[in-house]
Symmetry: C2
Subunit: 379 residues, 2 copies
Amino acid sequence: MTLPGEEAPLAATVDFDVGDLLASARLNEVPTPFLVVDQPTLERNLAAMQNAFGGRSASLRPHVKTHKCTAIARLQVAAGAVGVTCSTTDEVAAMAAAGIGDVLLGNVVTDRQRLRSLAASATVARVAVAVDSEEAVSLLAAAAAAVGALVGAVVEIDIGMARNGVASVADGIALAETIAATPALELRGVMAYEGHLVDTADRAERGELAVRAFEPALELLHELRARGLEAPILTGGATATHDSTGALPEMTDVQAGTYALMDATYRKLAPEFEPAAVVVATVLTSRADGPLVLNLGQKRLGSDWGHPEIVGYEARHLYTAEEHCVFQHAGGPRPRVGERVALLPPHICTTMGLYREAFAWRDGEVADGFAIDARDPLA
Amino acid sequence: MTLPGEEAPLAATVDFDVGDLLASARLNEVPTPFLVVDQPTLERNLAAMQNAFGGRSASLRPHVKTHKCTAIARLQVAAGAVGVTCSTTDEVAAMAAAGIGDVLLGNVVTDRQRLRSLAASATVARVAVAVDSEEAVSLLAAAAAAVGALVGAVVEIDIGMARNGVASVADGIALAETIAATPALELRGVMAYEGHLVDTADRAERGELAVRAFEPALELLHELRARGLEAPILTGGATATHDSTGALPEMTDVQAGTYALMDATYRKLAPEFEPAAVVVATVLTSRADGPLVLNLGQKRLGSDWGHPEIVGYEARHLYTAEEHCVFQHAGGPRPRVGERVALLPPHICTTMGLYREAFAWRDGEVADGFAIDARDPLA
């Protein structure tokens, strides 16, 4: 995949003063690597996305898998989000416990212990979950009935990811009918995720592909309503397609996530949002005409997508090993051995969960941080 | 990279009864995904590697980055290991606190806070660390002097990884002379790592490449000794080359790590060791002629190398997303939705740190588990 801007300036920039941050006496007491979130940038991103939903029939239901922080989720709801989307039952439990009243688990759950947790969350918040098989519905119904909870269910239909989701509209109708006939469950509607095309470089083409991909989901929704089934929700979408889903008037809940913190890769897809999170690392090795090596690797930097960038230095990322991130210096000043640098993570969603907390930075000072508190308690 | 046996049987096997494990009432109370280590297999691996060092002049110095467990490190030392190798100062601190008396940090450290931690560890254990620049030596010396510790230093020379390490024998000699002249430091010898060739498929070729790669490291060692410098150690190596380093009589400390727990990928390189660790996961989706999806992804399964395998089922791994591991069923019985399966991780070294503990399994029962206690406290 070549992303737009992939060959553009090598020296990453951010909208906040990284020099001040790296000079902070308090942060210099913390061993690297550690995460820092610039709060004003985060707040601008939250406001910008919320503004993009002004005057739209769809609501923003931010995906919290990207940050796993109840504190950030509360900011998103305070900014106007209708609720949140989660990817695990641990995220659901943390969000419900933090007072988020409306939680969608945008994933299928079939583990009995996790279903027990989900049903417990449904006794304190309005909870819905994706289902894609009769077995998943049956397991969910048993868990809900066991604690007397009413759990919402959205039928997930596969629109190209070849992952979760029913394979056809007919299968979706049959599943919805089962849900509607199950006392412990409430049919809420349809979910689909166009994840296979969110990294399409051209934005207009991406939007057209997304709208076309949703056709089976729309057909399923119409078929359910034609049968008199209550199916108020159509949910899906991402930061990269949040605007194009405006061409789908049936869409009710858009699951954009990455816009909150952004990263080196996603900013090329949605440049109206700015990176708010950096990882501070230390230069281990900086040989003249040789590698430039930082003291973090795959164990502390989600490395499944794109490339990290060093803020303010021209360097081309070569590879990330277990405990090393290796660049080639590409001109201009060269970071010294022992110097701390700010790194834009390649993929924020797989980076956040590798830390227990993120420091918060506001106007040149360390502010109250963000506990990354929606992880699996066993993680 | 195509590994030997990559096209071999799709249904993974292990040396312990996974059916019993999956039926365990106690483990069925734990939400998936979780890690389980089969203790007899672990013990056989530890004994087999230790036996391979019988009659050799080199010692085994196991790399604990692969498990990050002080309990497993203690078993390795009890089995005869001369000490351990670490990749982070957090691992060093945990090992020293757990009573491991001889600890090598096989990585460069230049972060002042981490150097402070390292020097503190050197007051309770014999500690050495890799260095590859005058700046790194100077930072290390300052940290050691600040607490009155004597810290060992090995000169790392780059033998092909293009990562850490001095670029030439001449640079290595100069650095060793600096170390020898620094009161807070003790020159211990030379380190090199042949990581760029450990996945060479043919074992004989791999061994020859490794021995040839070490030539500059040997030259550096000989030059240091010719100058009258004390340089007792030559350290490097891996599970995949532990035997071929026998052709290097100067090698003193072999840093094999993965042999303890193994994984789906490394077993193709060193089949004399058996996988001892599985991740238990639950089937989310299992569509006829469609994807087979498990409830864990990159956030709970190190996915930087190779492919996971499902024990006892024929399935071809397609991809691992953030929260999903997607296979194509390839014949034989098909796992049901809601069923728990045992997965061989593709890469154990990047999987262990994603969990807080591993359950231990012995002869059909859950035994005392392994705390994964050498992680970064901020992770």
